[in-house]
């Protein structure tokens, strides 16, 4: 340990805060270095002088003066102070932490079940006609507006058939199917077939371009028919 190291540790040495090893090193240096010994002695006296300050007391009663001034209207928190205090209160960990946990929970839920967002994305029950009008090129295709469940099944199950979804988006349809919005399909082969297909289908907007032919899509419940209407693009039966 050199001269500089020892000088930097003299306070810790005085307070007894050094490890045994460090203390031994400082002791060894002090034995050999009269300059550091002198500095240590002076530092010890400096500390003693500081700690020799006697307790001082105010000559006037501070509490009385303070309370008089408070009674006279001083020391009241300003509106700005109250406002900042309330803002600080809102940013306290005990307030923020539950909000962060809720936000993370919601984010995780959205990752696992993104279809939840479709609840807000697409209004249920909008007229299918409006969709057709915005899908030029498809309007001339035959539309099975109210097919029998088995007909839908055939359309979906046929390798050459493409089922076009109109609205609401497909995942929304799945929700309806899955939650009983179209009870007609429950227990029917159609439902069992639709379910795996829908897991592959991205949420689509009603605006063109539609997915390319070959993508099986489902429509939402037709308000008039009470179950999805299906349109085949090519090879539908």
């Amino acid at each position: 340990m050199n001269h500089h190291d020892v000088r930097a540790r003299l306070s810790e040495y005085l307070e007894g805060e050094l490890s045994l090893r460090q203390r031994a090193l400082v002791d060894a240096h002090l034995d050999a270095c009269s300059v550091c010994r002198e500095e240590l002695g002076e530092l010890r006296v400096t500390v003693r002088l500081l700690r020799g300050f006697e307790d001082a007391a105010p000559r006037t009663a501070i509490a009385d003066a303070v309370m008089d001034r408070i009674r006279a209207g001083e020391g009241a928190p300003s509106w700005w102070s109250r406002l900042t205090a309330q803002l600080e209160e809102l940013t306290q960990p005990r307030v923020v932490r539950p909000l962060v946990v809720c936000a993370l929970g919601l984010a995780a839920l959205l990752v696992v079940r993104p279809e939840i967002m479709n609840v807000w994305r697409s209004p249920v029950g909008a007229p299918p006609q409006a969709v057709r009008a915005r899908a030029p090129g498809l309007s001339d295709l035959p539309v099975a507006s109210a097919p029998a469940p088995r007909a839908v099944g055939r359309a979906l199950g046929a390798p050459s058939a493409d089922v076009v979804a109109e609205r609401p988006p497909v995942r929304r349809v799945w929700r309806h199917v899955g939650t009983g919005g179209s009870l007609e399909f429950r227990g029917d082969p159609v439902y069992r077939h639709v379910r795996p297909l829908l897991s592959r289908v991205p949420v689509v907007n009603e605006a063109p371009p539609f997915p390319s032919p070959g993508w099986p899509l489902m429509m939402g419940p037709d308000p008039g028919a009470g179950f999805p209407s299906v349109r085949t693009v090519s090879g539908g039966r």
Binding site: F53, A56, R59, A63, V66
Partner: protein, 220 residues
């Protein structure tokens, strides 16, 4: 060789448990603070009475003038009353009080004008002696002691506030490093380093006095 200071030093006075204790549970002011927050003015008055002396002492060592220290102490408690709702009980109330007082002292110094006028005033006081209440044993010793204190106080005034404040809190007020770190919102290592630098600087400033005291010509 160096343990004699530690034995009567702040760590010994405050107890080693201070370093690891939770900030709130053992706060003796907690009940009064709760009552004050519920609108009990008497509780606030009790808190002022409990802390006025230590606030005054800190300000006296920071400002060097008893009258000014009293005035700033009043401002400190008024500020405390004004901003007391910001006390979150994450630290001891006394730590919060020290922090408000330290800020008040620093603000006062800035208002005075970067210390220049302060230095002149302290030099004048040094000649006349700073009036610090004490209980001397005999008049001769009292005179010598007053003179020594005045010189130490004048030496303290020459330190920058950044060094003086931790030094006063540790060596005069006897706070442990952890609490000083909370008061000054610094890392504990920074506090230790500043205390050491302040001591070394004060040793240089007091030069002659230190040597005279060391050789026994002056009784500290």
């Amino acid at each position: 060789m160096g343990h004699e200071i530690a034995e009567r030093g702040p760590l010994a006075r405050a107890g080693a448990e201070m370093a690891v204790r939770p900030a709130r549970e053992d706060d003796p002011d907690l009940e009064l603070v709760e009552r004050w927050k519920q609108g009990d003015a008497g509780a606030f008055e009790a808190l002022v009475r409990r802390h006025e002396r230590r606030v005054f002492r800190l300000l006296l060592r920071m400002l060097g003038n008893p009258a000014e220290a009293e005035e700033v102490a009043q401002e400190t408690f008024l500020n405390l009353h004004r901003h007391g709702h910001r006390f979150r009980q994450e630290a001891r109330f006394s730590t919060f009080v020290y922090r408000v007082a330290a800020n008040a002292a620093l603000n006062r110094r800035r208002a005075i004008g970067r210390g220049e006028r302060r230095e002149q005033e302290l030099a004048r006081q040094q000649q006349g002696g700073v009036e610090v209440p004490s209980q001397p044993l005999d008049p001769e010793a009292a005179a010598a002691s007053t003179q020594v204190r005045a010189r130490v106080q004048a030496g303290l005034a020459k330190l920058s506030p950044a060094l003086r404040l931790p030094l006063v809190l540790y060596d005069i007020e006897g706070l442990p490093y952890g609490e000083i770190a909370r008061v000054l919102e610094l890392a504990e290592g920074t506090v230790k380093s500043r205390i050491h630098r302040a001591r070394m600087a004060l040793r240089e400033i007091l030069g002659g006095l230190v040597r005279e005291t060391e050789t026994g010509r002056i009784d500290a």
